[in-house]
């Protein structure tokens, strides 16, 4: 189908879909209205389980099975990327070229910000049940924080601090820990991913039962997985090339 025909077909479909969407938007509850049934139920359940961050409670306590599915998608996608981007028979890995000079100011800022960012990421993961944050966000902060070393330093420095094999195992350990806690919940409480630890009082660090532990498992998995994912793309650009390339 030519490009023009594709565009014409899309415009016809959009002309049909547009008015349908317009009607639907007038039928659903108005923007900013005060009646939210799910909100009342979810907030009440979260406060009963002594979890201050209701979104974390929903993700890791009330609908934790959903999160197990999401992180399985994550593991599968990272595996798929690793398979698709490995060097094929015509290519091999080279040593990364010596990179140009980095401004001294950039290098200093990088050295200062790297430990700060990693600690911030760990804090976001650990306090996911109290403040906005959690495993998913903290994992992304950890993974991107590590790459400050690449932006303000060299690729060799990043490579030294990034054992891909161990991080791969770490991702699997995080995913397995999530499932393991689910099975433990089944053994204790009779339901998969049952919240089996004592709940504590609202607002303390050790509250909300298994929610902080599941946060740590997911944060570990997402952090390791994202570093592995970005490593595949960086390797494609920097170190993998056809055999016989002049050095």
């Amino acid at each position: 189908m030519t490009r023009g025909a594709r565009t014409a077909l899309f415009l016809v479909a959009a002309a049909v879909l547009g008015p349908l969407l317009w009607n639907v938007f007038h039928d659903i509850p108005a923007f900013g209205q005060i009646q939210h049934l799910y909100r009342d139920l979810a907030v009440r359940a979260s406060l009963e389980q002594s979890t201050a961050n209701v979104v974390s409670s929903i993700n890791f306590d009330q609908r934790a099975l959903d999160t197990l599915g999401e992180e399985s998608i994550f593991v599968a996608s990272v595996t798929g990327v690793m398979i698709l981007l490995r060097p094929d028979s015509q290519e091999r890995r080279y040593l990364p070229p010596a990179s140009g000079a980095v401004l001294e100011a950039v290098r200093l800022v990088g050295y200062l910000m790297l430990p700060v960012t990693l600690v911030l990421g760990a804090e976001t993961v650990a306090h996911g049940h109290l403040t906005p944050g959690g495993g998913f966000q903290g994992g992304v902060v950890l993974a991107t924080g590590l790459h400050v070393l690449y932006v303000s330093g060299t690729y060799q420095a990043l490579d030294r601090l990034r054992p891909i094999g161990s991080l791969d195992i770490g991702e699997a350990v995080g995913a397995a820990a999530f499932g393991g806690m689910g099975v433990a919940g089944m053994a204790v409480g009779g339901a998969f991913l049952f919240n089996l630890l004592p709940k504590g009082t609202l607002g303390n660090l050790f509250s909300a039962g298994t929610v902080p532990l599941l946060n740590v498992a997911v944060g570990f998995e997402i952090g390791c997985g994202m570093v592995v994912l970005l490593a595949q793309f960086l390797a494609q650009e920097i170190t993998i090339a056809k055999k016989g390339r002049p050095e």
Partner: protein, 116 residues
């Protein structure tokens, strides 16, 4: 005016799909796909919004009354979706790299039938 946010969500979805249809490069297709997904996030959060509401966090200073927070269920859905769809985008991009290696082009109009 109360449907303005929903209409912008629908617009973002449609303009993302338009970008997919008109793309000349598989990488542009992936970018426009990502834009279209963001339209659904906007729609979800707009459904859960309450005028004058506060975030659904019950710790620290200024703990709100339980009836006054915005809907946390749609936020939970959107949150995991954002991170996971980034990895699916990564999978699509690696497919694009492989397609370029095999066929030498990223133009959707030149990638015709499946070759055995």
């Amino acid at each position: 005016m109360s449907v303005y946010a929903y209409c912008v969500a629908g617009w973002v979805l449609l303009i993302g799909s338009f970008g997919i249809v008109r793309s000349r490069n598989l990488i542009q297709t992936v970018v426009c796909f990502s834009v279209a997904q963001s339209g659904t996030y906007l729609l979800l959060l707009a459904v859960g919004y309450e005028r004058g509401g506060v975030p659904p966090i019950f710790s620290g200073p200024g703990t709100p009354a339980p009836k006054h927070v915005v809907d946390p269920v749609v936020q939970a859905m959107t949150l995991t979706d954002i991170v996971v769809s980034a990895t699916v985008t990564a999978l699509l991009l690696s497919l694009a790299i492989q397609i370029h290696k095999r066929t030498g082009t990223l133009d959707p109009d030149q990638l015709r039938a499946l070759k055995g």
